[in-house]
Subunit: 239 residues, 2 copies
């Protein structure tokens, strides 16, 4: 761990509660507009479209498309499927931008501030840069640098994302740690030589979450939350 | 100004005192190592190589090359020309990295902190991302986002840099302001539709500076320093 100079973070699920935020914001929007729908199911269906939509880009079926646009394509489809009527273009833009205002988990900001004292910190996310910058302003995520997938025209777990960030930082993969709540993201990072940190987020997908409840490999650091991870990474531990 | 959502900054000269920093650090290095040279002239010659070296990339003579590497190429040449002997590879790397540790002008950090309250802030620099991130950590520049020229594989004043940053932020050029101490940088930004802010740095090139002593066009904002510029940009002024 002595070598690590930058700690990069997965964002959706690892740092922010996308499901709780979307459900709360969609419910409020529906109440204000007199639109009733199963917003829990809607939020879950929206997120369920995430991987397949990126896979269309990763496979080459779709040319490079930023996440905001993929979100919008699946949003328009789901509005039809859920039979939600009366939404203007402005409404749809508002709903799509809810991803820019997701709220952090309670330990996120304090953990980042502590890690920032000793390391370069930044997101390494499939979100596009504008989404990540707007989210950081709203949620007080104190980034030193922001890596969105649109810098690389690739989505994780494509190697170009992990190695592209290392190259831009002029750091070797072994000098960079990825922190994520998802074992597959960490496995991709480890295969490329990055260090790895795992924080479980057992409520990310709600009460019935089945996956990523615990570390599935011996990651370099495993901690119950981001403040504990900061303690494990503190310089006195590096000696 | 009501439309502006992001304020981006030229860095070398506008925010940091490259000349004073290089002279101080080179002088200290020379003293510690018992190497005497005209470090004032050396610093000025190194900076004088800046535009011609970028021009080689802009013209296509040289494939895309980051600024750290251009600095190193001109450093190696100048060490020969100044007849400075006994420098190891490690010494040369140390000297080249002085650009990562340039010191801000006295008003820079306070001005950025104030502007950050109401706008997205970031560098829009010909420096590479690693240089800018390391500089920000050392000098406490509180960026929301970092745009290095290596994100675009172009150097200012190529349009790709200005428009590339706007696109990544998902903002129209008219929603982005460039702040610089150099009239030519602002002229390039204005031609592309960005808003412009000028802060003079009459000591950037030392006591005999001839250029950029004042605003040469009616830029959107002209202020004597960055704290005054922050006041001019404060939200109460936007109504």
């Amino acid at each position: 761990m002595q070598m690590v100079k930058a700690v990069l973070f997965d964002v959706f699920g690892t740092l922010v509660d996308w499901r709780g935020s979307l459900i709360a914001d969609l419910t409020q929007f529906g109440r204000e507009r007199g639109i009733s729908a199963d917003w829990h199911a809607f939020a879950d269906a929206w997120r369920a479209a995430y991987r397949p939509s990126m896979q269309r880009v990763r496979s080459g079926e779709l040319a490079w498309t930023i996440l905001d646009r993929l979100h919008r394509l699946s949003l328009d489809r789901l509005i039809e499927e859920f039979g939600i009527g009366g939404l203007s273009e402005q409404d749809r833009q508002h709903i799509n931008r809810l991803w820019h205002r997701l709220r952090p988990w309670p330990d996120t900001v304090e953990g980042l501030l502590q890690i920032k004292r000793s390391y370069i910190i930044g997101p390494l996310s499939n979100g596009n840069l504008a989404l990540l910058v707007n989210m950081a302003k709203a949620a007080n995520l104190p980034w030193d640098v922001v890596f969105g997938s649109d810098l690389f025209h690739h989505y994780k777990p494509d190697p170009e994302v992990y190695l592209g960030a290392c190259a831009l930082l002029d750091l070797a993969p072994g000098e960079v740690m990825l922190v994520a709540a998802h074992n597959d993201d960490l496995a991709a990072a480890r295969r490329l030589g990055l260090r790895t940190g795992f924080v479980p987020r057992p409520q990310e997908y709600g009460p019935n979450q089945k996956r990523d409840l615990q570390a599935e490999e011996a990651w370099d650091v495993v901690a119950p939350d981001l403040v504990a991870l900061a303690q494990a990474l503190a310089p006195r531990q590096k000696a």
